[in-house]
């Protein structure tokens, strides 16, 4: 096998060192300020995704439904990242847990419609204002336990 190795000069390295620019502390503050302005649109988009997810869950079959799981995965993965912007970071963790769960189910061929449903209803719960931090942490802990239950392939015995 032939391998060619090149060590390129990156223009980005030179640009970053150019005079001017921003101190790290100011740049990060600017970025956080910009993100704060997105909150209303992110909330609306996350709620729209949640409604789509609830509709898809309502049609998820009782027996193994790979297409249905794929659909819910596609919705959930699009929402990850929005929770942080909306001031509900627990939503991101719940969505990652839902994606993990669906990935485990589709990989191992096991099926648990209820586990998916718990995640979808938790998404709704975590979107709501007024849930204490400890309550959100308890919900996330429960969701992650459910996902982990399916992380390993079933034993033959």
């Amino acid at each position: 096998m032939s391998i060619r190795i090149v060590v390129p000069k990156l223009r980005l390295a030179q640009l970053l060192r150019m005079p001017g620019g921003l101190p790290v502390v100011d740049a990060v503050a600017n970025a956080e300020r910009n993100l704060a302005t997105l909150r209303p649109t992110c909330e609306a988009e996350l709620l729209a995704l949640l409604e789509l997810c609830e509709q898809s869950f309502a049609t998820l079959a009782e027996a193994f439904d790979d297409a249905g799981l794929e659909k819910i995965y596609a919705i959930a993965v699009r929402g990850i990242g929005g929770g942080r912007i909306c001031g509900a970071p627990a939503v991101d963790t719940a969505l990652i847990s839902l994606c993990d769960l669906i990935d485990h189910l589709r990989t191992t061929g096991r099926y648990d419609r209820k586990a998916v449903g718990v995640h979808v209803s938790s998404w709704r719960l975590l979107m709501g204002a007024g849930l204490p931090e400890a309550g959100a942490a308890a919900v996330l802990d429960g969701l992650q336990r459910v996902s982990l239950r399916y992380a390993e392939a079933p034993r033959d015995d």
Binding site: I5, V6, G82, I85
Partner: protein
């Protein structure tokens, strides 16, 4: 790699051309907010692979931030395309891959597509900045082989553990391997600083 968020160290992204790829309006808005907050001014925003390929073909790109585009994983194919098909210097551009979640069957694809690093969402500005600075560091070799094109994924320059060969099969192949290096006909052509 940790960068102190309170640091007064300056960096300048003003002159950098940044390619952003994310198919969701929310994901794109988040990326744009973070990157412009960090000082970038010239952005190419693409919501699909075709737009991104066109932007890469037509413009000089200094940095790319590309979503994996789960569940299809088309973002990984885009990165591979940039590494294998884009002209210099775009084929060497630092590429940060973002992902909300990577399905188990896409992990190898994500690893092998040629991105510099994968960033898991939600993206914090300080983390993105750290990764941009890290990916921009010069001196990281890029490999061109039949199966992989992209930055060298090895970060440590250590010899194999004592008593172990370079590859798993070395122990069995040891008697034949004494004849020389014919078995390994790698044509390593190190061209430091050739591309600019």
């Amino acid at each position: 790699m940790a960068l102190d968020p309170q640091s007064r160290i300056r960096f300048n992204l003003e002159g950098a051309a940044v390619l952003l790829v994310d198919e969701t309006p929310m994901g794109m808005s988040i990326l744009v907010s973070v990157v412009t907050g960090l000082g970038a001014k010239l952005l190419y925003r693409c919501s699909n692979v075709e737009q991104a390929q066109e932007a890469v073909a037509q413009h000089h790109i200094d940095l790319a931030i590309i979503d994996g585009l789960a569940p299809s994983g088309a973002g990984y194919d885009l990165v591979k395309w940039i590494r294998q098909n884009a002209r210099e210097p775009n084929c060497f551009a630092p590429i940060l891959l973002t992902t909300g979640h990577t399905p188990a069957n896409d992990i190898v694809r994500a690893r092998d597509c040629g991105g510099n690093i994968i960033i898991r969402k939600p993206i914090a500005p300080i983390v993105l900045l750290e990764r941009i600075i890290w990916a921009s560091k010069e001196g990281r070799p890029y490999l061109f082989s039949e199966t992989y094109v992209g930055p060298d994924r090895r970060f440590q320059d250590k010899p194999p553990p004592a008593g172990a060969g370079r590859r798993r099969g070395d122990a069995e192949a040891a008697p034949e391997a004494t004849a020389g290096d014919e078995a390994m006909d790698a044509d390593i052509d190190r061209k430091a600083g050739q591309a600019s």
